[in-house]
């Protein structure tokens, strides 16, 4: 079977094969047309309102009585 590659496809293939081997540092690209990363006007640094946050490591107090700070589920 004969495989023919035009220059554009050959360039794309070359780029795909070579770039991952070029080293560099990790960098995460995000499409900021979805939701721009970073703070929000009202939500602050996090950029979102936390409705529920539960951590399994915490001694969560899920009773109606509030426990000491940091021990219960965070609800805003």
């Amino acid at each position: 079977m004969r495989i023919v590659l035009d220059p554009i496809r050959a360039g794309v293939l070359f780029t795909c094969l070579v770039l991952p081997g070029c080293g560099g540092e990790a960098y995460l690209y995000t499409n900021d047309l979805d939701i721009k990363p970073g703070p929000g006007l009202l939500s602050g640094e996090k950029g979102a309102f936390t409705l529920i946050k539960i951590r399994s490591q915490e001694r969560a107090n899920i009773s109606a009585q509030p426990g000491p700070a940091g021990t219960g589920p965070e609800t805003r």
Binding site: L19, I35, I62
Partner: protein, 443 residues
């Protein structure tokens, strides 16, 4: 729970039992020695019970200290006769704090943005001003849920787009009346996923197809005002044929497309783990459509690089007129602020009489740090599109854009000008000029 608290409990219990015992003894007429013996036995029994409970509490404390989750029901001792109420309340309060059983880390977040602009458009014959929702990044609201169960990440995303006078749809008809896109809510995401390190991510529901976004890689910071989806700014506008003085029925959005994969679909999608910045995706979509994509992002010294390539088999999508679609984009940003973006794509028409639509796009940008408010982003771009609506159509467009990021406020304000030009056989359309100014506010 503190063991020391059993000291007062023990004393209180002893006193209470003594009083109760004495009363009982008096009523029954028993002798003093019998009463004392009875009290002694009761105290010994109570002491044994307290010792046993103390041992259980010590065990529980050790387990809690080791980070072990406690699944047993909370310890709650029945109050003894004559035991005072404050002591009972103290025990119950501490018992509630032992309810700690949890299987997962869970985050549920509410997010959203509004993106509104004033759009002026001139088709060569007349001009109008519209108050629009920016179709490049529409106003929306969503709920994002993420959790971790053992080594798995699971989650769901529900996101709604709030359509009100979309910039890509509004136009003025031949009677001079503004035609709006109307109001409505569109579903962007109803999407669930599960993922595991080293295994990848599986997504199902309505959401980004594997190839969505692959024509939109852009590090300029001006995407919200001008990017490869050039039809989002004023795509609803109709071309005006000057020689015949008639308004055509050809919208700008019919003649420009950035062929961005298969957009958002009802689909099943798989993403590989990332290795050395590379990730591959595959999807099976509604309409008998399939798509495959590769994405790459990496930092090399003072350069950030991101790129993507995609191949889609549209099936019944796009009118069922195409066998395949190929597209991709890349962007490079230097620490100096200069950046370069390119995109391109082609569709393989099923009809042999139909020429294959193609496009290419380029953008030069500069991110300046003039104020502490956030970066000031400038760009100029150009796009050429062939054969999208008809054979021998040649569309050209260019834009100048400025976006000021107000980082602390989660806001971008923008201003952009774009010129659209369509060459079509046997007609002479005027260029369409558009200018918009607006703000995207993330709340």
């Amino acid at each position: 729970m503190k063991i020391e608290r059993f000291g007062p409990i023990l004393i209180g219990t002893t006193i209470a039992l003594s009083i109760a015992g004495q009363v009982q003894a008096a009523e029954s007429g028993a002798t003093d020695s019998e009463v004392l013996l009875q009290l002694k036995r009761m105290i010994e029994q109570q002491q044994a019970q307290l010792d046993k409970q103390s041992a259980e509490i010590t065990t529980l404390k050790e387990r809690l200290g080791a980070g072990e989750r406690v699944a047993e029901p909370p310890f709650r001792r029945k109050p003894l006769a004559g035991e005072s109420q404050p002591m009972t309340a103290e025990v119950v309060d501490n018992a509630d704090k032992l309810v700690t059983s949890r299987n997962a880390n869970i985050d549920v977040e509410l997010y959203g943005q509004i993106n509104r602009a004033g759009l002026w458009a001139d088709n060569g014959d007349s001009s109008s001003v519209y108050f629009v929702d920016n179709s490049a990044s529409s106003s929306r609201i969503g709920v994002n849920t993420k959790g971790e169960i053992d080594d798995y990440q699971v989650g769901a995303k529900i996101e709604l787009q709030l359509n009100s006078n979309r910039s890509s749809r509004v136009y003025t008809n031949e009677d001079g009346d503004e035609v709006t896109s109307g109001d409505g809510v569109a579903i962007r995401h109803v999407d669930g996923f599960f993922a595991k390190d080293g295994l990848g991510k599986f997504s199902f529901g309505r959401g980004n197809s594997a190839s969505n976004g692959t024509s939109e890689i852009d590090l300029s910071g001006t995407k919200v005002a001008a990017y490869s989806g050039v039809h989002d700014m004023a795509g609803g506008q109709l071309y005006y044929d000057n020689p015949t003085r008639t308004l055509s029925d050809t919208h700008i959005r019919n003649t420009f497309s950035h062929m961005d994969g298969l957009s958002r679909r009802d689909r099943f999608r798989y993403d590989t783990p990332k290795f050395s910045g590379v990730m591959f995706s595959a999807g099976a979509n509604e309409g008998d459509a399939y798509d495959f994509a590769g994405r790459y992002s990496r930092r090399f010294g003072s350069f950030k690089f991101a790129g993507a390539l995609a191949w889609a088999i549209p099936g019944q999508l796009f009118g069922g007129d195409f066998n395949n679609q190929y597209n991709g984009s890349m962007s490079v940003l230097h620490d100096s602020g200069f950046n370069l973006t390119a995109a391109g794509g082609a569709r393989d028409a099923k009809d042999s009489d139909r020429d294959d639509p193609t496009f290419y796009y380029g953008k030069l940008g500069y991110k300046a740090k003039i104020w502490d408010l956030g970066s000031s982003n400038f760009s100029i771009d150009y796009m050429k599109e062939d054969n999208l609506d008809q054979n021998d159509d040649v569309g050209r467009t260019y834009a100048l854009a400025f976006v000021q990021d107000l980082k602390k406020w989660g806001t971008e304000v923008y201003l952009a000008y774009r010129n659209y030009d369509l060459e079509r056989t046997d007609v002479d359309f005027d260029n369409v000029n558009a200018l918009w100014a607006g703000a995207r506010i993330k709340f």
